[in-house]
Every structure is written in structure tokens, then in C-alpha cells.
């Protein structure tokens, strides 16, 4: 296992000691055990059969505990159309995280230029043109325009079940901060009261799931990583209004605990942007509970060990076959 890139720039803390004397970081342990597979890019890893088995088991549990929601299951590929992405106003808040997809659209002459650049080890991407697709930044984004197009929602609202690979441009050495990772979400659209009750229900269910998985956890008010100085104000306001809570579990060595679930109340943000209305004509409010699938797998491996066969029986019972 070539961990050169990783050991060279390991997180601060052991800089004075010889690299050989340091215990492996959690990421290094995961790579050595073959649970994650290095690709040479920070935050981009392959997953082993064992890792995927735990991910599948988690998704099955989340389905089971959500069965009373009678959610509509919708699955989208990991990209949005650019027009929908623009409407979402993601670029106002998180321009630094989004990923646009670009392609070569030139002729044979341009292709020869591309190959010459490649051969000379120069940048060949200058000929790439935007395709009109943007990688999905959060699993719920594709559903708002789809639901909006269907017309007014029933007054009781509705719940949608989504799961998608999401992209965020934040290369990191923390295994919990991947550039491509899966989010499972239940998204609720309805009256403000419906959303508040939905969020409360899932904050309780999320904590119960964490306890059933025998993970140390706390729930706290949180904010999204809004861009720039102006973003600080938006983040403060989000905290003041208690719009976002996170379920936090310690995962990374010597770092603050990691958000493994989040419980969000968007108020009428998406309802207004997409003109999603209830039967009475009022703008729908929305909220969601999001499960970070990779983060939950990493939390389980951290606290119960790298071999699921040796996990506590209660955890294994909760997850079914792992």
C-alpha cells in the first residue's frame, strides 16, 4: 500500500517525531485493512465489499425505520441540469463546493492539440467546455423541480426518499470528508407545522438509531459552510433560528466530532425558489433528515473495530446481516 502522499502531509500533531514511530492515522488503518482503497486523490476512495455491506445494511435500517413515512422513492444520477442548479441558489451560498461537468467539443485539429498538450505534460483542460450538468451537491436537490412540476401538494404534505452520490470540492485527509460520498435523505414538503414535527420525529429516531448502533453521540445546533464574510452572517442567523441540528459522533483522531446525520428546516427557501405550493395556495415549507452513509460506516468501524464479524451482537442485530 503506497501511503506516501498521505504520510507526507499527515495532520499536525506528530511533526517532530519520526514518521516511522507514529501510530497510523484512522485513514491509514482503513487503507491498510483494505476497507478504503486509495486512488491518489484526497477524498476519493474505492470501497471494499465489507465497507459496502455495512453501507447497504445501514440503508436497509433507514428504510425500515422510515416505513411509516410512506415516502415516495426517487433516485437520481449524481448530476443536475445547470438551469435547476442555478435556480437552487447554491452558487450564492457554496460556490466553492460545486462541481460543473465539462467536455471536449472540438474537431480533429483541436483533438491533435489536446493530445500534444497531454504529451508535453501541459494543461489540456482549457479546451473543455461546460456541458450544462452540475454534480449533485446534496441528495435532495433534484427533487424540488420535479415535485414543483406536479402542481400543488396535498395539504398534508408528502415525504420523498432519496439516495445519491454527492460531490463537494473539499479535498481532505479526513476520511469523513470525501469529495464523493452518499447521502440518504427523507425530505418532507408541507406546512411549517408538518416540517417541524417531521424534524422532531427524526431527531428522536436518529438518536435512537445511534444508540442502537452503540455509538457515542450528541446532538447540537449547527450551520452550513456558507462562503465568505457575508456567509458568516447567514450562518449565525441559521444558528439563531435553530434551522439545522447535527448528530455528532467522534470519528477522526484528535478532531471535533463528525456530523453523521443532520436535521434541517429550510423554511420556505426551496418552496419559494421552485414555486412549490400546498392545496390552499400557500408556499410549501421543506425540511430533511440526511444520513451521511460513509460517515456512519466510518463511525461504526472506528468504535467497534475494522471487522464487523467482531462487532457487539446488539449492533449486528440492528444492522441485520453485515
Amino acid at each position: 500500500m503506497d501511503a506516501h502522499v498521505l504520510t507526507e502531509e499527515r495532520p499536525a500533531g506528530g511533526a517532530a517525531a519520526s514518521p516511522a514511530a507514529l501510530p497510523p492515522t484512522y485513514l491509514e488503518s482503513l487503507l491498510a485493512a483494505g476497507l478504503l482503497i486509495e486512488t491518489g486523490v484526497r477524498g476519493l476512495y474505492g470501497r471494499s465489499a465489507v465497507f459496502e455491506g455495512i453501507a447497504d445494511a445501514l440503508n436497509a435500517v433507514i428504510t425500515r425505520i422510515g416505513v411509516d413515512q410512506q415516502a415516495e422513492v426517487l433516485r437520481f444520477p449524481p448530476a443536475l441540469g445547470q438551469t435547476d442548479f442555478e435556480t437552487s441558489e447554491y452558487l450564492n451560498s457554496f460556490p466553492q463546493l460545486a462541481g460543473t461537468i465539462h467536455s471536449f467539443c472540438g474537431d480533429e485539429r483541436a483533438h491533435r492539440r489536446l493530445l500534444a498538450r497531454l504529451e508535453d505534460k501541459q494543461d489540456w483542460t482549457d479546451q473543455q467546455e461546460p456541458t450544462g450538468l452540475v454534480l449533485t451537491p446534496a441528495a435532495c436537490y433534484p427533487i424540488y423541480p420535479v415535485i414543483a412540476k406536479r402542481g400543488p401538494l396535498p395539504q398534508a404534505g408528502k415525504v420523498v426518499d432519496v439516495l445519491s452520490y454527492c460531490y463537494r470540492h473539499e479535498p481532505s485527509l479526513e476520511p469523513t470528508r470525501m469529495q464523493l460520498f452518499r447521502q440518504r435523505e427523507y425530505v418532507c414538503l408541507g406546512s411549517p407545522e408538518r416540517i417541524v414535527a417531521f424534524r422532531q420525529l427524526w431527531m428522536e429516531r436518529g438518536q435512537q438509531l445511534g444508540r442502537d448502533l452503540q455509538l457515542p453521540l450528541e446532538v447540537d445546533i449547527a450551520n452550513d459552510p456558507f462562503f465568505g464574510r457575508g456567509g458568516k452572517i447567514v450562518a449565525d442567523s441559521q444558528r439563531e433560528q435553530k434551522l439545522k441540528f447535527e448528530l455528532l459522533i467522534p470519528v477522526n483522531d484528535g478532531a471535533p466530532p463528525t456530523a453523521c446525520m443532520s436535521f434541517n428546516y429550510h423554511m420556505d427557501h426551496f418552496g419559494s425558489l421552485w414555486h412549490i405550493a400546498l392545496e390552499d395556495g400557500s408556499t410549501a415549507h421543506t425540511g430533511c433528515v440526511g444520513f451521511g452513509i460513509e460517515r456512519l460506516v466510518l463511525a461504526l468501524l472506528k468504535h467497534h473495530g475494522l471487522d464487523p464479524a467482531n462487532w457487539p451482537q446488539g449492533v449486528r442485530d440492528t444492522l441485520g446481516d453485515v
Copy 2:
């Protein structure tokens, strides 16, 4: 359902008739039934629970009929590192299909410029910079560098099981030609004899699966869509050497049948690029069987109807619970 974009430019054949008088295309039927969900972008669709149920059932069957391969299961997110992508020489053959991921890396001033462009409905993507990630063009691409790093393969070779969303920049009105779609593959690495036998085995198993699913099929020699005039020569050579076979099923209205599986012998192409060796020091040959998950689902829906509950019992038995 707003099918405006689709009906406006429907495939040739009914141009003289009134649009209202035309029977729906297969894509329109799938959208009307809610099996696929429109996103406003050609070749980018959401999937319903029913569609995903069929996809999951197909994957389970493919796992079952491949169990004797003792394949190593590896799963990758839908992107490669740019260095690995360059090494793959994909840009020589298919530059037009690849998708690179770009992000905004500017400061607050640049962000204000971005938002001003957005507000003026001008192109804002000119500030996007390459991130060093490229979308996966075929599910097997991430595994070659990973296997190469492990050192020589056992003389008997090995089989890897992969499944990934793949991206190809080819917007189309044919539902079988999506920009983001899933490929399931078994990839074999070993001696030339091993690969030839592997491919023969899977050509037989693929046809048997097609017959069990009661789909009309034929197997034919094929070639990849190599770019440009030079690509024609490469494609001809690929056909002459019988390196690629496809299992074809009629799916699209009035169009040639669609490749739903492919059986490929790469000779030493990837083995040489990545320096993958066998125990005796010789360069590994590789081959793969690829299953187009969306295409197989679409073939089933086309031939057996849009409601799996009404499919022939033999098909339902083959797929297990759909």
C-alpha cells in the same frame, strides 16, 4: 408532464403529421408512466421505485450467476483522478465523451463577479477551474491502477466485480443513451487463454440470461465509438480482431437494436498501460463483461410492459422479487 422539449424535436419519421396525432415515443411512455423522471436535460433522468427495483433485481441475478467467479467486489464513486484518467489513454480514443469536474476557486471579489454574471444571465462557468477529477467513463477504469499497485497477479489471474454510475457526453432522445447510467462488470485479469475462456463463458451466460428474461436478442461483433477519421481505422481493426461482441436487443422505436451487454477482450492494452504483470513476469491481458443496467431495465419494460406485476411468470421468477 411537460414533454415540450421532447416532442419539439422528436426523432425523424413523423415530421409531416400533427404532433398531437403521433403515438408517444418509448421515452414519452416511460415519462408518462413515471418510470423515468424528466430533468430538463436530455439523457438525464430520475428513476422511480419500480425502475430501481428492476435494476436491483438485475444486479442480484448478475451476482448469482457470477458467484463461481469468486470475484473481488470493489466499488468506486463515479470519478477517477486525472492522472489515472490520462494514463488510461481514454483521451486518445474518446475525447468527446469524457467529463472533467471543475470548481470555483476564487475569492469574494470573484464570487461577486460570478453572481453578477448569473444575474445578467451570462455564462458564469468561465471561472470554474479543473479539480483533478474526471467522471468514470466505464466502470472498470478505476480498478487497473489499484490492481497494478498490489504487484504481480496470481498466475491463474483474478476477477473483479464492479458497479458504477458512468458519464458520457452524448445527449440523446433515446432513453437507452443516457449521459449518466450504471454499468455492472466482471473484469478478468490473467493470461490470454484465461481471458478468452472468460469471455466465451460470459457470452454464453449473457445469452442464457437474456433467454431467461424472454428478451429477443442477437450477439454480434462490434466496435467502440472511436473519435475522428483515425478512429475509423481503429474501429475496423477492433472488428477484424473480434475484440468486442455485443448482446443486442431491440428497444427504441424504429432504431437498430441496442447493446445491453458487451463482451470485451482488451488484449494487453490496460496491462501494458498500468504495468500489470502475472507471476511469471508477463504482461496481464484483460477482458470484461459489461451489463448496461438501465438498458436491460428498458429492454424488459419494452418487451414485457411497463408494469412488472404483469410480466410473464418465468421472467419474474428469474428476477426474484421485483
